[in-house]
Symmetry: C2
Amino acid sequence: MSSTKTTEIAALGEFGLIDRLTKQLGRRHATTLYGAGDDAAVIDLGDEVLLISCDMLSEGIDFDLRYFAPKLLGYKAVVRGINDIVAMNAHAEQIVVALGVSAKISVEFLDELYEGIEHACKQYNVDLVGGDTTSTLNGMTISITAIGRAKREDVVYRTGAQEHDLICISANLGAAYMGLHLLERESRVLSDIDNPEPKFAGNEYLLERYLKPRARIDIIEALAEAGIRPTSMIDLSDGLASDLRQICRSSKCGARIYLERIPIARQTTALAEEMNIDPVIAALNGGEDHELLFTVPLSMQEKIQSLQMVDIIGHITSEQSGVTLVTPDGEAIALKAPAFDR
Amino acid sequence: MSSTKTTEIAALGEFGLIDRLTKQLGRRHATTLYGAGDDAAVIDLGDEVLLISCDMLSEGIDFDLRYFAPKLLGYKAVVRGINDIVAMNAHAEQIVVALGVSAKISVEFLDELYEGIEHACKQYNVDLVGGDTTSTLNGMTISITAIGRAKREDVVYRTGAQEHDLICISANLGAAYMGLHLLERESRVLSDIDNPEPKFAGNEYLLERYLKPRARIDIIEALAEAGIRPTSMIDLSDGLASDLRQICRSSKCGARIYLERIPIARQTTALAEEMNIDPVIAALNGGEDHELLFTVPLSMQEKIQSLQMVDIIGHITSEQSGVTLVTPDGEAIALKAPAFDR
C-alpha cells in the first residue's frame, strides 16, 4: 500500500464511504441518467430506462451457512436483488449471479443453491442470464446484479419526498431481526449437544421473515393500479431508522414518525421480550426486512388506506426539523444511524 | 446441507460446472436473447441490444495484494469487465462495482482503488454508475458488472466460427503468466530480507502485461473500420488452449493452430527459460492475457494481414478433427484443458 495514513472504514460513519468513493465520478455517456446513490442506477433507453442494481452477500457477515440451506440462500439472494429494482418502482426482468466459492463447497451445494435461485426467478418472473464463478480462499460470496426496465416517468428515486408527504411501510418490522437472533440463540445453546433439536415452535413466522423474505412486486403493482405514484422509495435493508434517514438526506427533508404507528408483529414482541431485546430497537434498527419504505402525497391518504396493504407511520417535514421519532407520551427523539451508534 | 453425496467442483472438469448449473434455466422474457454461455448476456432493446457481463475477483486467488497496488487492482478489474463486452464486439458504457472488504482494508486503500477504477473508466470512456460495499470476514472480493450496447447484427458470439475460418489473436501470449511468476519468485526470494529490492529490470513488459492489461477496444474498432466482422470472439482470460476449446465447443467445430505462428515475446521466452518453464505452456495455458481470440472468414485474410494488428495462428476445422496444435515438425497434438490436466 502506498498510503501512510490509514483510516478505518467505520470511522467515516453511515453515509461516508459511498460519498467519498463516488464523489468524483465522471459522467461520460448521455445515457447515464443516474449513478450511485439509489437502489439502482438508471440508464437511458429512449422512451424507457434501464435499471441496474448490484448486491453482494458475504459468508459470515450477511449469511451463516449453519442457518441457510443452500436453496434458501439462493432464493434470498435473488429476492434482495429484485427488491432493489422494485424499490425504483420497476420490475426486474433479468439477473446475473457471480459466485465466489471455497473448496468446502460441493457441487451438490451449488445445485441446491441454483435450485433456490431458479425458484425465486420463477416465482418473480425473472430470467437468470449469466454469471461468473471464481474460487475463494475461504468464505463464500454471492453477487447479484438485477436488471429492470421502466418508463422514464415511472421511476421513483430516493430524492422526491416533499414536506407533508405520508411515510408508508409495506409490513411490520423487526421480525427478520428476531428471526436471526432466534437462530443464533439456538445455535449457541445446542452447540455442544448431539442431535440438537432447536426450539422454533411458535416462531416460524420470524424465521421465514429472515430466511425467506418477499419481493414486494405486489405493492408496486397495487399502487400503480390505484393511481398512487410514490414520491420516494427505498428497500428496507438497513433498518427503518437508517433507510428513512437515507430518504431524508437524498430528498433534503426531515421526517416525523410515530412509535405507536410502527407495526410490530406479536411474535416479534414476544420473542424480543423473552430475549431482553427492546422490540422497538428491533423494528427501528434491525434491518433485513426487505420491505418497502416510501412516501406519497398527503392527498393520497384515503387511497392508501383503502388498499389495506401498507401502514402510514408519519410524515415528511422540513429539513431543519431533522428525523424524529415521537413516543406515545409526545416526546420527540432524534433518530440516529444505528450501525455506527451501537 | 441436505445432500448426502458431495462432489468436488474440480471433478466436473473444464466446462462442467457452468453447464450443470445453467442447464435448466427458464426463459421468461422475450427480451432475454442470450443467457449464460458467452462473455456477456444479451438483452433485446428493439433495434439495439444490451450486453451485460459479470466478473468476480477474489483475493488470494485472482489477485495478491502484495503485488497489486490498489490503483492497479482497480484499473485491472475494470479492464477485465470492459473486455467481456469488447469480446462481444461492443463498447462498454457503464460499470457497477461491488466490493467485499475485510477489516484490514483502510479508507485510503479504497480511495486509491477507486482512483484506479476511475482512471480506467476515463481511459476507456465508461461511467461507473453504482455499486455495493459489504464486509467480509477475511479477504477482499471485487465484482464488476459491465454494461454495453450494440446493434443487434454487430454482436459477435462464441458460436459463429465456421470451417476454414482463420483464427486470430490480438497480441503475443504468455507474458502476463510470466509476469505473475516473476512477482511470485521475487516475493519468495526476498521474503526473509529487510528492505528487499526485487529484480524486475528488463522484465517491466511482463509485469505490465500482468498488472495492467489493456481493453482492446482498438481492435474491434479497427476491424469494424476495415469491414471485417469476426464470426466468433472470446476474451483470452483462461489461456489460449481453454478459450479456443470454448469457441470450438460453442461453435461445434474443431481447430488447427500452428505452434510457430503463436507469437511469444522475447522477454517471455527469456524469463521462462531462466525459470525452467516451457514458454509454449505459458502461451497456451498461462491465462490472464485479456487479449482477443477471434475467427474471421478465410476471404478476409488479406484485409486482416494489412491491419498489422493481429496474428493468424491457424484455422477452424470440422468438429470431428478436434482441437489440435501442430508442431514445427508437423506433429499434431490434441489441445487439452489445462486447468484440469495439471
